[in-house]
């Protein structure tokens, strides 16, 4: 089934350029009896300008896949490419620079620097790189997120939703090739979550941003263009232009499949 899904995608790959792709990506934790195969020879393409959601039950390897593709985690076998750059051979320094220049991150727990105000948190990746922000773009991002009157607030003075908006703006402002979002709505109430997802959707539609988002929330996944389903370290299914109902349906199917497998 995995092979089918992958081969059915291949014609599309020729037309759309992949912002990132993995070939035979394998990740094994531990060794001997303790050995856990988190990713089992996964092939994935994240097309440019597309909003991809990665779903799967706990332990399916969805977070590991994201970490490996973002260059945060080392891989056991296979290769990961950001653009055309293979990651496995890069030094820590080169990888850090690649992340700095090409990748944006949004985390479940916001991860803002408490000593910096909203504006400073947003420009942090640029500041660290020693680059000055493209002011027009910066303004666009701020206005899209709707944070203009909160820019001099510190994270402790912002609500959870606002903090995640700052994190979104931080991910966008350096115009990364791809943004990885790890359960971005996991710590938010449904209204704030919807705002954040709406913002991510708009950044794809209006600015052509590539986004990969790990989530277990079907509603969140319904904002994406394409949902990849993972189970036991493999891509087991895929859904284009998903609705929340369709996603839920697939998930139920998947849960039954894995539990049947377990038995």
């Amino acid at each position: 089934m995995t092979a089918d899904a992958a081969s059915s995608d291949e014609p599309g790959l020729d037309q759309t350029v992949a912002a990132a792709h993995a070939v035979g990506l394998t990740k094994v934790y531990g060794s001997g009896a303790m050995q856990v195969v988190a990713l089992d020879s996964v092939d994935v393409q994240l097309a440019e300008g597309e909003f991809t959601a990665i779903m799967g039950p706990s332990g399916s390897g969805k977070s590991t896949l994201m970490h490996c593709m973002a260059g945060l985690d080392s891989i056991t076998a296979g290769e990961v490419y950001l653009g055309e750059t293979p990651l496995s051979t890069l030094s820590d320094k080169a990888l850090t620079q690649l992340r700095r220049d090409q990748v944006g991150f949004i985390f479940q727990s916001f991860n803002l620097i408490p000593t910096l105000n909203a504006a400073e948190n947003i420009t942090l990746p640029l500041d660290i790189a020693g680059r000055s922000p493209d002011l027009a773009w910066y303004d666009t991002v701020i206005d899209t997120v709707g944070l203009r009157d909160r820019l001099d607030h510190r994270p402790s003075e912002l609500s959870g939703g606002q903090q995640q908006q700052v994190a979104c703006a931080r991910a966008l402002v350096s115009r990364p090739a791809i943004i990885f979002a790890d359960e971005p709505t996991g710590n938010l109430d449904s209204r704030s979550g919807a705002e954040v997802l709406g913002f991510l959707r708009r950044s794809v539609d209006e600015f052509g941003q590539t986004i990969a988002m790990v989530t277990h929330d079907a509603t969140a996944a319904s904002y994406s263009d394409r949902v990849l389903f993972l189970a036991d370290g493999r891509v087991v299914d895929e859904l284009r232009n998903p609705s929340a109902e369709a996603v839920l349906d697939r998930m139920k199917h998947l849960d039954r499949a894995t539990s049947a497998q377990a038995e």
């Binding site: 970490h67 945060l72 985690d73 820590d92 320094k93 850090t96 620079q97 992340r99 700095r100 220049d101 944006g104 991150f105 985390f107 727990s109 991860n111 803002l112 620097i113 408490p114 000593t115 910096l116 400073e120 942090l124 990746p125 500041d127 660290i128 790189a129 020693g130 931080r170």
Partner: protein, 849 residues
């Protein structure tokens, strides 16, 4: 609850290790000091009580002038030896010749061991055949048996490169040189002082050192059934009026008392530095427990939620502290033994090997080590423990449990009050007064208040000053982050910097006092000394008059005048002897700018006339025309004050003329000679001629004004270096505190650092961020310390201006150097935490909740 405490201790052992290390260092220093002095005391007591003869008969002295001020060599006829031997109950008696200032010259022509320290004065002695009476026993070779045969101690033999059969060059107190052959090597029976000793046959020693038939003491051994006191009573009727006797027990107990006094001083001196170090440790412990409590607040809240009382939470933190203290004190004691051994080794290295081999561990040392370790740790943990008990149970339910820092208002008020006290006492201390002791005490209270005020206000200072100090780094994002990190928890930064502040305050105050003393003595040399050259004995020991006579004959020398030092007890000046400087009234003004405020210098040509400086006159309530009954080394004398003069730095106190030398029991040797050269003479030529003339007298040094000032500077700087070296321990602990705080902060900020790494911060940038934070803390502490130290250094100089420190000197480059070294120390302190931070696993860091 106890189990939870033990678990916590195990879980946080790495983080507690540095606090333990600070306690270990402090306790080790204190325990080492006690072990060292106790061991010495025991070794000395063993030695002084063993090997004493039963009775020692000596020319009487009117009072104990102290080492180095003994005055002329006092002798008595050796005919007394025979009379004493005939007394019933006397087993044996022998006349001894023991004379100081007998220098052995090394291969370089310089006296052995004049580099300073206890070994700087050599002895010349006469050989005593009876092994029971002698103070030395042969270890190899034979007893001296001819006019050119001597025995020496082993160190002298080695250093002078004179083995048995070789010759040694010996400079006698008269200035004469002899080169006898070494025929034997001796070791001390009783206590060896470390000085060189040369022993001739007694008749030869008499010829060279005293006079034929004259001995300096008689050593007596009693028959077995005669007690020492009985022996003393039986011998007493034989003794002339100016001769006295002491039993062996008396000699031993006097010696023991002197040694114990000296050791007590050493002990106190070293302990002060140990206590400073422990005081600094307290900050480290306070910080560790504060941070641990903050980091564990969720866990503590959980304890409270499931039913632990406040008291239980508080007790658990305190028990943790006590366990840390006990472990640290135990290790500290063990290290202290090493410290004591090291101190002994250091003395041996400096050329003064100490007696005794074993180390003495008294129960008191254990009590002090554990007591001090536990008290310091407990007191430091009290506030964090209280804070832990204040964590509300509901904190367990909260998402993020960063305790909001209480406002610094209360600290500000306490600081302001203390500061006011400091200022008031400083004003009181700096009022014009004659009583500098009282003023210094007031200043001490003020300094103490100021230190605590600074500690209370340090968090405010951290908040305000860190951005200023961090300004050079503010261009880079990493730098700004570091500045913010140093500011975000001002209490933590302040406590960390405060530890360093104390060390730096003490060091910079010492620096100001040292610079002021140097500047003041420079000024005195410039103002007072009119001489072109001065001659001093090595280690300021008196030298034979022949030196002065030799100098006078050098062409180009216009005047030479020598001064001598007599000692006397003066009514109203306490028991300690006062020095009376003996000068030539007709020549002294050629070489010293003495300005008489009252009377005439010429009147010093009358025996018994003295002048005194105005400060001493005021202190003792003396007026011109007054007569004083003083006690000299040779007996009572009456002197009359015929004038007063302005004190001139080191030249102060009582001054008499050569006419009074005999009356005042002055020694037969000079303590200094001042030389002026003929105007228009070639200085280089005169200098060369003087150097050539003084070559036979290596125990004296010739210095022009520049060299003289340089020598004073050098000796003051040596003292400063010594004190700074002892304060290094406290500074070291303060830097450990920086390591500690940074390591704990890195742990606390794991997630943040992870995020920084995720969004593209390189390892190098992370390291730089920690490094800058560390440097900021170090510089904050050292700058605060510097300000405090310099202010109180200035205050102390003002207070001591009556005592001769008239000029204020601030060695700015030296102070800047201190700050630079502190900043570098900050870099070193950051290495390990920075390395750890840069090695954090990015994934784990972001994932960690």
């Amino acid at each position: 609850m106890l189990r939870a405490t033990l678990r916590a201790l195990a879980a946080y052992k790495v983080r507690l290790a540095l606090s333990a290390l600070s306690i270990i260092l402090g306790v080790a220093f204190v325990a080492g000091t006690f072990i060292f002095t106790d061991s010495l005391q025991k070794a000395f007591n063993d030695l002084t009580s063993a090997g004493q003869v039963d009775l020692v008969i000596e020319p009487a002295t009117t009072f104990d002038a102290g080492f180095g001020n003994e005055g002329p060599v006092r002798t008595m006829p050796d005919s007394l030896v025979g009379e004493v031997t005939d007394v019933p109950g006397v087993a044996e008696a022998a006349g001894a010749v023991v004379v100081r200032n007998v220098a052995v010259l090394g291969p370089d022509g310089k006296p052995l061991g004049t580099g300073g320290g206890p070994g700087s004065v050599g002895f010349g002695e006469g050989w005593i055949d009876s092994a029971d009476l002698a103070e030395w026993r042969l270890t190899s070779g034979s007893a001296p048996n001819g006019p050119d045969a001597v025995v020496v101690d082993e160190r002298t033999s080695e250093q002078a490169e004179a083995p048995i059969g070789g010759t040694v060059t010996v400079l006698l107190p008269s200035g004469e040189r002899v080169t006898p052959t070494v025929v034997g090597i001796v070791e001390p029976v009783v206590l060896g002082g470390g000085a060189s000793v040369v022993i001739w046959p007694t008749e030869v020693a008499q010829q060279l050192l005293t006079a034929p038939g004259q001995v300096t003491s008689i050593r007596v051994l009693a028959e077995p059934d005669v007690s020492q006191t009985e022996l003393q009573n039986r011998v007493a009727p034989l003794l002339p009026e100016d001769v006295e006797s002491k039993t062996g027990e008396q000699v031993a107990s006097e010696l023991t008392e002197q040694l114990n006094q000296a050791l007590g001083f050493l002990n106190t001196f070293l302990l002060v530095f140990g206590l400073i170090a422990l005081f600094v440790s307290a900050f480290l412990i306070y910080n560790t427990f504060s941070i641990l409590v903050a980091q564990r607040s969720r866990e503590l809240a959980l304890m409270r939620a499931i039913g632990a009382t406040r008291r239980q939470v508080r007790t658990s933190v305190l028990i943790e502290a006590i366990l840390v203290a006990v472990i640290a004190a135990t290790i500290g004691l063990a290290v202290g033994v090493g410290v004591a051994q090291g101190l002994k080794g250091l003395f041996a290295l400096l050329g003064a090997p100490l007696p005794g081999s074993g180390l003495v561990l008294l129960p008191r040392t254990f009590a002090v080590a554990y007591g001090i370790g536990i008290v310091v740790t407990l007191v430091s943990a009290l506030v964090p423990a209280r804070r832990a008990s204040m964590v509300p149970p509901v904190a367990a339910m909260r998402e993020e449990s960063t305790p909001t820092a209480a406002p610094l208002l209360r600290r500000g008020i306490v600081g302001a009050v203390l500061l006011t006290i400091a200022v008031i006492f400083a004003i009181l201390a700096l009022r014009p007064t004659d009583n500098s002791t009282a003023a210094a005490q007031l200043l001490g209270v003020s300094a103490l208040a100021a230190v605590f005020a600074a500690l209370a206000l340090a968090p405010l200072a951290a908040r305000l000053l860190v951005p200023v100090l961090g300004w050079p780094f503010s261009r880079s994002t990493v730098g700004r982050l570091a500045v913010e990190n140093a500011r975000r928890n001002p209490r933590r930064t302040a406590a960390t910097a405060g530890a360093l502040m104390i060390g730096l305050a003490l060091i910079s105050a010492m620096s100001v006092i040292a610079s002021s003393t140097i500047k003041s003595t420079d000024a005195v040399v410039d103002d007072v000394i009119g001489a072109d050259y001065v001659v001093f004995g090595a280690t300021f020991q008196p030298f034979p008059p022949v030196v002065t006579e030799t100098v006078a004959a050098v062409p180009g020398v216009e005047t030479v005048t020598a001064v001598r030092s007599a000692v006397a007890q003066i009514p109203g000046a306490g028991d300690s002897p006062t020095i009376i400087t003996i000068v030539d009234p007709d020549a002294i003004t050629d070489v010293l700018n003495l300005s008489l405020s009252n009377g005439e210098l010429a009147r010093l040509n009358d025996a018994g006339s003295v002048i005194v400086d105005t400060t001493t006159a005021t202190d003792l309530g003396l007026t011109v025309g007054q007569s004083l009954n003083v006690l000299t080394l040779t007996g009572p004398a009456e002197v009359k004050i015929v004038g007063t003069y302005e004190p001139a730095g080191f030249f102060q106190g009582f001054v008499a003329g050569n006419a009074s030398a005999d009356l005042l029991g002055a020694p037969g040797q000079d303590s200094a000679a001042y030389i002026t050269t003929t105007p228009g003479s070639d200085q280089a030529e005169v200098r060369a001629a003087l150097d050539a003339a003084l070559e036979p007298y290596p125990t004296v040094t010739l210095q022009d004004q520049v060299e003289f000032k340089a020598q004073i500077r050098e000796s003051i700087n040596q003292l400063l270096a010594f004190i700074v070296a002892l304060l290094i321990l406290a500074v070291l602990i303060a830097f450990l505190g920086i390591v500690n705080t940074l390591a704990l902060s890195v742990f606390e900020r794991t997630k943040e650092i992870g995020l920084l790494r995720a969004v593209g911060t390189t390892r190098k940038q992370v390291r730089r961020m920690i490094l800058i934070e560390s440097v900021l803390i170090a510089v904050l502490g050292s700058v605060l310390g510097l300000v405090l130290g310099v202010l109180y250094g200035i205050g102390l100089q003002q207070v001591l201006s009556n005592e001769g420190i008239t000029e204020l000197g601030i060695d700015v480059p030296q102070l800047v150097l201190f700050v630079v070294i502190s900043a570098l120390g900050g870099v070193v302190a950051a290495l390990w935490p920075a390395w750890r931070a840069s090695r954090l696993n990015v994934l784990q860091a972001i994932a960690s909740e």
